[in-house]
Symmetry: C2
Subunit: 584 residues, 2 copies
Amino acid sequence: MYRSHNCGELRAADINKEVTLAGWVQKSRDKGFMIWVDLRDRYGITQLIFDEARTDENMMQRARSLGREYVVQIKGTVIERESKNLNIPTGEIEVLVNELTILNEAQLPPFTIEDETDGGEDLRMKYRYLDIRRNPVKNSLLFRHKVTQEVRNYLSNLDFCEVETPYLIKSTPEGARDFVVPSRMNPGQFYALPQSPQTFKQLLMVGGLDRYFQIVKCFRDEDLRADRQPEFTQIDCEMSFIEQEDILKVFEGLTRHLLKTIHNIDITQFPRITYDEAMAKYGNDKPDIRFGMEFGELNAAAQHKDFSVFNHAELVVGIAVPDAASYTRKQIDALIDWVKRPQVGASGMVYCKCELDGTFKSSVDKFYDQADLAKWAEVTGAKAGDLILILSGPANKTRAQLSALRMELANRLGLRQPNEFAPLWVMDFPLLEWDDETGRYHAMHHPFTSPKKEDIHLLDSEPGKVRANAYDLVLNGNEIGGGSIRIHDKETQALMFKHLGFTTAEAQEQFGFLMNAFQYGAPPHGGLAFGLDRLVAILGGQETIRDFIAFPKNNAGRDVMIDAPATIDNAQLDELSLVLNIKG
Amino acid sequence: MYRSHNCGELRAADINKEVTLAGWVQKSRDKGFMIWVDLRDRYGITQLIFDEARTDENMMQRARSLGREYVVQIKGTVIERESKNLNIPTGEIEVLVNELTILNEAQLPPFTIEDETDGGEDLRMKYRYLDIRRNPVKNSLLFRHKVTQEVRNYLSNLDFCEVETPYLIKSTPEGARDFVVPSRMNPGQFYALPQSPQTFKQLLMVGGLDRYFQIVKCFRDEDLRADRQPEFTQIDCEMSFIEQEDILKVFEGLTRHLLKTIHNIDITQFPRITYDEAMAKYGNDKPDIRFGMEFGELNAAAQHKDFSVFNHAELVVGIAVPDAASYTRKQIDALIDWVKRPQVGASGMVYCKCELDGTFKSSVDKFYDQADLAKWAEVTGAKAGDLILILSGPANKTRAQLSALRMELANRLGLRQPNEFAPLWVMDFPLLEWDDETGRYHAMHHPFTSPKKEDIHLLDSEPGKVRANAYDLVLNGNEIGGGSIRIHDKETQALMFKHLGFTTAEAQEQFGFLMNAFQYGAPPHGGLAFGLDRLVAILGGQETIRDFIAFPKNNAGRDVMIDAPATIDNAQLDELSLVLNIKG
């Protein structure tokens, strides 16, 4: 036994006990006749004391030699601390050391192992094992474990069975780019790493497993944006003999359970809005509803005067920024500059101040009188003291721009509190979306999503108008989960592939196994997948997912700690029947 | 709601209830005026009844049209069954159907969906989703889930934190062959899929996580023997500030918990033997101790007479087969033929019958008298009525041969009962083993295993004699887990790589990140990994692991259901900077 207690557990009740502790030297203070050392492990910090009067000189010397992050084991007596530190649970005691063993020395770490470190992102990634010693990262990993345990227990209690689906599967052209794995035993052939276990979980439903889940790694070889990882984790779920309502109920229950268990927050019923409604009200299919600023469409209220910018716009739409009528000209100009940035792309912005005295002051006073502006205030829900900001142009683009502005203002105004949680369901997504680049429709969710029965007749005439039995779970402006009721018969699945531009032969080659399976008695089924990395980060009140991933990769897909990917031997390539062909 | 109850839950107490059920048609019996249908789902089977007297003719017709594996939904009334079937929990009732909906038709399945199917292995793999409908496979998957949930809860309660380590890592030449993954973003470079999260879990210990576990897929690109899979699952565990005894205690506790929870078997303390002892007593480092037949070494008792075969042998060793003295000459000759098979490779076998009258009759009576043979009986522990079987030759080879014979006899004699469980620890494995092919020592466990302190001085002089702080957990003749106390300082790790034939530069390039990490304060640590597939199969009383894997691959590493691996587009290869180079 290396220790009788960990560094977080000794209390006043333990005074006079003989204990053995082991851990890392967090810091030491040397006052000559006394040396105090903070000994740290995963569970906490305990203060050690070496006292000239009670410790032999040799041990005083050795205590003096301890550097930061040395690994030590001590034996000693728990004593009452003279100056208590009530900020930490062990702060009433200290341990008078009578035996000291240095288990391992340590070089000076390249950054401080403190909650607020002086290490930059790159350095922290290279020495991730040191970064993990810091409370913010360590606690994020412990938190992730707690969440996954809660998820597993919750779903298991509801008869969900966790099944491991294969990692070495088949590459498909639909969707994002696959990572592939050359097969040595089958020269010229490749496995692919799964982007999700989608088809396998559907086959488990065909297999009668009824309720499946899996917390599983998925892979996408995409150009990485910030905060995207080539490997990520899903809570993947599927149920049979269910309707959409059953699925929403189960996973709303799970989310409610997590919010309750982790944050002691009770949320009774999650609001639901349709995709169309979300786009109209928030310009966004994953709206943050912790704050208002809902869109007010001003076409009717603004297109009857001589202001040609509005008159020629497909959409005129505004939001009321609470208590912002007092913004200075300079502040407003800054906002106008902000919306003109290439990332947002608006060409201009109109504002209207709703003064406290009930009058209005707008940047287009030349065209609109007080009655017009009062109408704008009514439509956008602005009250006295608010500032109305208005964008105009093509509908979709303008909505996206105003959504970006709405989020920016919410951030600036501190309306996005990480400890406040506002989930909602967004329903009735479009089945297909047009892609200019490939000149065809793509599945908005994936090709296995079922169209709404009442919309199927539109598939040929107006495919963009067909709604899907698809739903997203949104939390604080992030999509944390998404799913659908699946197609479960061969004919509809074949029709779907046809509309996605597959020939019959292509569909059969890629997804024949699934369509065949549907011919042997597939039950109605559907499911949902949560993005675990994001879910855990949001539940943990964080913006970025990296601290919740033990060993993340950087934006170039590299693990800088182990220096991967790397070259491999020619012999290894040869065994795989491959040669390199690097251009440029 | 597709159903009010599942097909396994209705009981006599539910009689007169109106219910909705959904499931698959297991079979139907048509007596003209009455039709019975067995409706099946994951949870059980409920009998439906269509009765001419109480059911309209149209529905009788539709009931008649139901084929095997059709997916149907019914509404009806629970009634008492006339001829009760007490073999199934729902056997006291049946449901008189008043509404029938066919949710999906089904083609005739290619094999029967019964506990004993007429489908061969290949067909079952191709239609695995149908195979999963069969109880033996379905129950194996549910059992696996139960075991993993127990493992997770047990370890979580002991403060173990499950951490997901990366799947896209770096290829290393040590150990088995890696699967590699070309990186599009880093042309000419490859990730590797992990053979185990070994280095990452050690880095988590350096990171202070203290107690880690993970149920995780691992990958080995090896020529597949029967019952080996290219992807397999480990319960991977690691602890800090521990000695070997602490690890044995925790994982013995886990195994005991599983045996208790799953089979209600109490096993107090697991026996422990050393590797040397296991080899001497059983010729095997994973002995099945559910039965005796321990080896008796007969050199002293047999090398003093004129039988040159024994006199020239390095080892003469025998086992006592219980109650086999009555074997006929023909039976014994068959055993002699059996040990001469190439898979065993013995050149001959000597036997000695211990007759019930206390006399002995051996195949070498010419050389040995009754007193000699009595001595053999004493050494092998043979009692009257037993048959002593003796092999001789080079020690290691002969032990392996006798071990194979021992297992074969135990199988024939029914001594390996799947519902009896006999775990044991095998300790003190050699650190290194000589490999003739590469002409160097290899790590028996892996290069991170620590040598026993008292043996380190032998590293240069007699490396084969150095024992490791390594241990295996053996259950019923299978290694279900293995682990070690790790090296935790850079010097010892560098020394180890040197002895494995690495140059300093090679060691640094491959494992520099780990050796560097050791310089920043690594704690003493060690761990263990269970092979989950095997563990679950043995706990489930099965010999083969396939039924416990949802979608296994065949011996050529192919998933015959989805037909993977497969060729990929040239465009895809091009993006990866690769071209094919297939020989022959």
